[in-house]
Symmetry: C2
Subunit: 363 residues, 2 copies
């Protein structure tokens, strides 16, 4: 696995003209080697030259965490070493360098100062198209994470979780606990936006007490077996039936989301999938209220290539995995979103989230 990925990375380095890849935080390093850098001030960095063997520069106190492996040798640095000097020595005279997109800016600045003749690119120029295509094992990991998130959706839809009278923060914490109980090792987010807050796509769940007769958007995800889940369902808190206005909004959204999933066919440009959802929502009279793209790729990282957004003409390939999550938002009033993770396959789009998409009425 790892060996094949390493070969593809080296081939692509040659193709795009990169002499050394410097991998630190983010998904490139675990995707390539299985090792994840700690997000701390002590630098961990894999130096992978196009023309030589890879070396993992790692703080001495973390060296016992790293198993020996064929992909790289380990070069520990001590508390009084300068890690930047260690990396620079391994880079040698190589000039065209690519650094992890999520590496800290402070390390890039120090490397630039130490290596003034280097030309820098983001590592994604090398790795992103490779990582975007998931292999079978990765798709199954994504499917397991999505299935676990779906079990939480089902618990929310069944009435097992009380909404009315509790704060958004309480319901969010409960969703987090349930994601962990269903096997997630980490919770990335558990958005609960109620009433007017349902119109805030990235709402921070807070002290607002959920009332009867209002929408609640629940968007949650985390990590299971190293791969991310991310799903959204919208609820209506009972008392009365959803108002006609909201039912109309939801019906348009429901159709747009389903049509966009169906449109996620291999060969279709990413922006066209966005266009399908946007067209239906615009025709329904809510175009101005759909204020974000239709979706993002997903894998080891919660958001990665490919992005389903206007301007991205890249065609979908078999193994691309991404969210389909249109939303409609009336600022200060209410909103709704429906989100599934979908994989493009030769047999057509495969939705990994299958919890019911209908508006569930809950207590």
């Amino acid at each position: 696995m790892s060996e094949a990925r390493m070969q593809r990375v080296r081939a692509r380095m040659t193709e795009v003209g990169i002499d050394a890849l410097l991998l630190s935080l983010g998904a490139d390093l675990p995707w390539l080697t299985g090792y994840e850098a700690m997000p701390l001030e002590r630098l961990t960095m894999l130096v992978l030259p196009a023309d030589g063997d890879a070396v993992l520069v790692v703080p001495e106190l973390e060296a016992p965490r790293v198993e020996d492996r064929p992909e790289f040798t380990v070069r520990p640095w001590t508390e009084t070493d300068n890690a930047i000097d260690v990396v620079a020595a391994l880079v040698g005279g190589r000039r065209r360098l690519a650094i992890s997109d999520r590496a800290w800016a402070t390390f890039l600045l120090r490397l630039q100062s130490k290596l003034p003749d280097a030309a820098w690119s983001p590592a994604s120029a090398v790795t992103s198209p490779l990582r975007a295509v998931k292999d079978e094992e990765e798709v199954e990991a994504l499917a397991r994470a999505s299935a676990a998130a779906d079990r939480v959706s089902a618990q929310l839809q069944s009435g097992e979780v009380r909404f009315v009278g509790r704060t958004e923060a309480e319901v969010s914490a409960e969703i987090g606990r349930r994601l962990r109980a269903e096997g997630h090792s980490r919770v990335n987010f558990a958005i609960v936006g109620s009433g007017p807050n349902s119109a805030s796509p990235h709402h921070e769940p807070g002290p607002r007490v959920i009332e009867p007769n209002e929408p609640v958007v629940c968007d949650f995800g985390g990590v299971l077996d190293g791969y991310c889940s991310d799903t959204t369902r919208t609820f209506w808190t009972g008392g009365s039936d959803p108002t006609p206005n909201f039912r109309d909004l939801y019906a348009v959204l429901f159709e747009a989301q389903r049509a966009a999933v169906d449109a996620a066919v291999v060969g279709t440009p990413c922006e066209d999938v966005d266009g399908v959802a946007r067209g239906i929502i615009t025709d329904g009279g809510y175009g101005v209220q759909f204020i974000h793209r239709t979706g993002h790729g997903i894998g080891i990282e919660e958001h990665e290539d490919p992005y389903l957004v206007r301007g991205n003409a890249e065609p979908l390939e078999p193994g691309h995995a991404f969210s389909i999550e249109p939303g409609i938002y009336f600022a200060g009033r209410w909103g709704a979103r429906i989100e599934d993770i979908v994989v493009a396959t030769a047999e057509g789009p495969r939705a990994l989230n299958t919890a019911p998409h209908e508006l569930a009425v809950v207590d």
Copy 2:
């Protein structure tokens, strides 16, 4: 609060020669404004010119999260805008720029490409000495976080949590649950290193089943009210008494940790506190086995200035908050660490962790 911090930041920008501060991920932005950027591919960045008003550049779909506030105006960008262009326009002709240490490298590369005449520094050059000195409110937040972590230490020491026969990963997950139950909103880490894994300071808790008659290092922390906890206690799993070798090691460590806390007096150079712990451990015959610095600053971030490490001659100031955490590690055999958070005050060092430091024997 925020107003006073803003004034101090502006004064220091003039002092060190920075024309505009660009704040994204990390603690600078919430410390200065109360707003925290989401760690995602859509850029959030506060542009704070030395000679003008601050503007928060934020993705349109996150704009509803940002309350109006006196410190900045909000400039949302839409899914088809280029956020880098928006930031560059706000920077204008200013050339000496400082960017958040933890901003993603990919954003720095794009800004450098858009603003080729700029000279870049890490934002810590401006903010770090200011943030390192905690005010009264911050010290009390740190004290609450430490007290919550201490309650978990007490639960571990009292025998309420079973060690033997369970995996490290299980005990780690239980520590995480207990940190949340004691008020933490986030768990940053819960290291459980048993037997030979106790010699790996940043061990990743795994499938190893904890046995009788061995040491277990538990190092855990998270976030409560926006500030971090971080504490370590070492345990001995019962059956037999700790071996004389381990008792000797622990006695030396215990003395070194206590002496280093006592040495954390205002005016003392940071490296001298490290020297006190290192001296005692070296005299005890374990110098080679103490493979990391004595401590790190702590606040909104888990590791920040000041670092108690050889080479850091900066004197401790009132309000500096940091860990004191010497350790002794025999690779492949065993190890131990004791860690408290301590604040330097005019009245002397104030330890925020007070759970017993003695080696607790547990089941």
